[in-house]
């Protein structure tokens, strides 16, 4: 049986969502190893990577979350993953930050992400915000450049895309000293 589980939760925001999910996990003997949780307007979203305890059963967890879901309306999705997947970071390449901003319109995220995908540049994190006052859309991406793609090459194609979309796109290498 899988020793790790990926779990996603989505629901209308209110106090107690994190507590209700983590209570079920704790009582089932699970350990939360990694997570990302955030509020987007009225929807609260959680992604968790948990390791299962010796006595945890997938069926037991499914039952608990079914009951929680019926009671609270939270959407809970469970995905068993292999041990190896549960312990390794799969993304390769060197980390870069890409900033995109400009007048909002449909197609910015798609345009940027499809260009990155075509060049085998893997997105590892995305945050976007929309400012109604300025009608400005901002997207910050952290992405991994494969060896085959130089920073100069990535800069060139992103700048060209920015001109086509009418937004500013910049990319820089993440420069992290060890202190």
């Amino acid at each position: 049986m899988s020793k790790h589980l990926a779990l996603s939760v989505l629901g209308k925001d209110r106090p107690g969502i994190v507590a209700s999910i983590t209570k079920d996990l704790f009582e089932a003997g699970c350990n939360i190893e990694d997570s990302s949780m955030t509020l987007l307007r009225s929807e609260f979203a959680m992604i968790l990577l948990v390791s299962l305890g010796k006595t945890t059963t997938l069926e037991g967890l499914r039952k608990k979350f079914k009951a929680l879901s019926d009671k609270t309306g939270l959407s809970v999705f469970l995905k068993p993953i292999s041990n190896k997947e549960g312990q390794t970071e799969t993304s390769q390449g060197s980390p870069h930050i890409i900033a995109v901003y400009g007048a909002d319109k449909p197609g910015i995220v798609y345009g940027v992400s499809s260009l990155l995908a075509k060049n085998r540049i893997n997105i590892t994190d995305v945050q976007t915000t929309y400012s109604a006052n300025a009608n400005t859309y901002t997207m910050l991406l952290e992405a991994r450049l494969p060896r085959a793609v130089s920073l100069a090459a990535a800069k060139k194609i992103l700048t060209a895309l920015g001109a086509r979309l009418g937004v500013t796109i910049t990319i820089q290498a993440v420069d992290t000293p060890q202190l």
Partner: protein, 165 residues
């Protein structure tokens, strides 16, 4: 000479206030040599504070000149009992720390600092530092007061990154 073991969170020594050094004893001189060797052993490592190698004393070694990207610097620095006596401006930059594996964060620091300290011979010195070196000085002197960069983060959403390499 030896490469020293790095203490990582949650080691209690990283949260303690380090003791002043009264005299530069032979033991301290040996520790300085070992810390320099340890700092140079790790890629992109340009500074190390004594609590990071398990010694609760006010000692920092630094060398910005070895960093891949050039920055104005004073070369190799050995700082005993360093004190920041002046600071001005502010800048944000990404920092990593051997004692905080798996995370990096954007931290806001002063752009320039004045630091008084004693060198490896015990002689009193004062330097004015700017930019990246000033940031590194603030990070290392924080270690002597039990402060980690995680203690200076103000926004998870924009400041903390899980290190993926």
């Amino acid at each position: 000479m030896a490469i020293l073991e790095i203490c990582t969170i949650p080691a209690p020594i990283l949260k303690e206030i380090a003791r002043p050094i009264e005299t530069v004893s032979p033991d301290i001189s040996e520790l300085i040599r070992d810390m320099l060797e340890t700092m140079r052993h790790y890629t992109r490592c340009v500074g190390l504070a004594a609590p990071q190698v398990g010694k609760g004393i006010r000692l920092v070694v630094m060398d910005i000149s070895v960093y891949p990207k050039p920055h104005p610097n004073h070369g190799q620095l050995i700082l005993i009992n360093p004190v920041i006596t002046g600071r001005a401006g502010s800048r944000a930059g990404r920092e990593g720390c051997l004692s905080v594996p798996d995370f990096t964060a954007n931290v806001t620091r002063a752009e320039t600092v004045t630091v008084s300290y004693q060198d490896a011979t015990g002689a009193k010195k004062i330097i004015d530092s700017q930019g990246f070196e000033a940031v590194a000085l603030q990070h290392e002197i924080d270690h002597l007061d039990g402060m980690l960069f995680l203690d200076r983060v103000t926004s998870i959403k924009t400041d903390v990154f899980r290190r993926k390499a």
